[in-house]
Amino acid sequence: MECRELTDRAINRLLEEAAAAELEDFDRHLAGCERCVRELAVIEETWDALGADRDAAVTPEFRARTLALLHDEVDRRRMREFRPRARAARILARAAALFVAAVAGFAVARGGLPAIRSAGTSSPVAGPAKSAPDLAGNPRLSNVAYRTDPDGRVGIEFDATTRHTVVGRPDDPEVSTLLAYLLLRNGETAGEKSRAIELVSGHYGSGAGAGVASPEIVRALAATLKGDRNPGVRKKAAEALASFRSSPEIRTALLESLANDPNPGVRLVAVEALAASAREAPDPKTIQSLREKAVDPQENGFVRARAASALKAIDL
């Protein structure tokens, strides 16, 4: 072994990747080279020092959140798999069309069309128009199933979904209500909620704190900031609120988040937003809260430092 190979050999030894012969060669060299002994000590000290970095642990909250997400994902995939594939559906549709044509031909030959039974009910209806969707809207028909009665009638079952597009200014009541609904009720996963928040933030927040959001949106974001179990979603909600023009409702939501949110990243966003708001219009409650945070020994060091520097920047 040569001196220039020391680091390589030392790492092999530390990782238990060195063969017996290599180890013997290594030890032989060390026995006669004081410089390599000193150098080895530095390498080993460096290696040991890395052990000071503590491992992140899976918290019960993260575990519960992720397992719920995984269950949702598996369920979603299972439901997707149950849908008939496009090719299979086409074949089934052709088979059904042939069957319907045959039945109709037979019925015509016997002197009249049979009544069609409404899907999902047992009461006969006058014609297909009442139970069939408006095909002009090109609805997507899924989960199609066919059945026949012994008397020669057919039933066609399906789910019909229609895509809606709502277009309007962000402050239109209909758009605003829809966005609030998406935020609070429709976002099932953290990703969906985050996208809804980004959309809201993109529409209402100007990035310079000048956006004015509807009260409905502010309420939805405040509720998300207060109650969502995912810290990433809460952080996004706080950032969105911070991008709007400050209001008493927004301040209250951020103050509550600063006081109670368990995640320092979320509290950090709250501190910064409150500091920006207080610089424009000093509010006694906000300043008091920042003062408390700046000296709170239990608070995360970075949040504490940001609260202290924010106070310095406010003209009191």
Partner: protein, 190 residues
Amino acid sequence: MAGGLSDDRVLLERIRGGDASGAEELFERYAPALLRFASRMLSDRDTAEEVTQEVFVKVISRAHQYDGRAAVSSWLFAIAANACRDRRRRDHRANVVPLEAVAELPSRGEGAEARLDGRQRRAAVRRALQGLSEEQREALVLARYHGLPYAEIARILGISVGAVKTRIFRAVETLKARFSEGEALWNVVN
């Protein structure tokens, strides 16, 4: 690694078959290691958790793509390494939340002074790790903190064993130089 080779493959089969408890078991086995890996690659607890979640969601959607050539654990680490790289590229805010915000479990029996000293040491080490290139850090973290052999690291990162050795060598040289700058190792803290 946490689970036996065949056990892990059985779990993947169960996930493919739509069995959520298979995903749950895989999470229990590998989430601690993957979260540790992600938190060292990203240094932000929230982002590391999100990426770890992403890995398991991807496993559910890609279970059918697992070809059995590598151990399931290697496959998971490969997905995690890619997800971390994507995240760092996509989200330039990945390092916004500072190290101090990373939740840590308190050690028993540490006095206030020792806690402060320990925190400074951890911060210094984490800063030094962040100073490495992404490629060097990946290889070093897998070797030093996960105890993986060169060959497995090579499979995970899709590189040769020689390249793994080179990356670890350079990482150690960089850290050694950084830690040796002052008289004592921990003088680098401030």
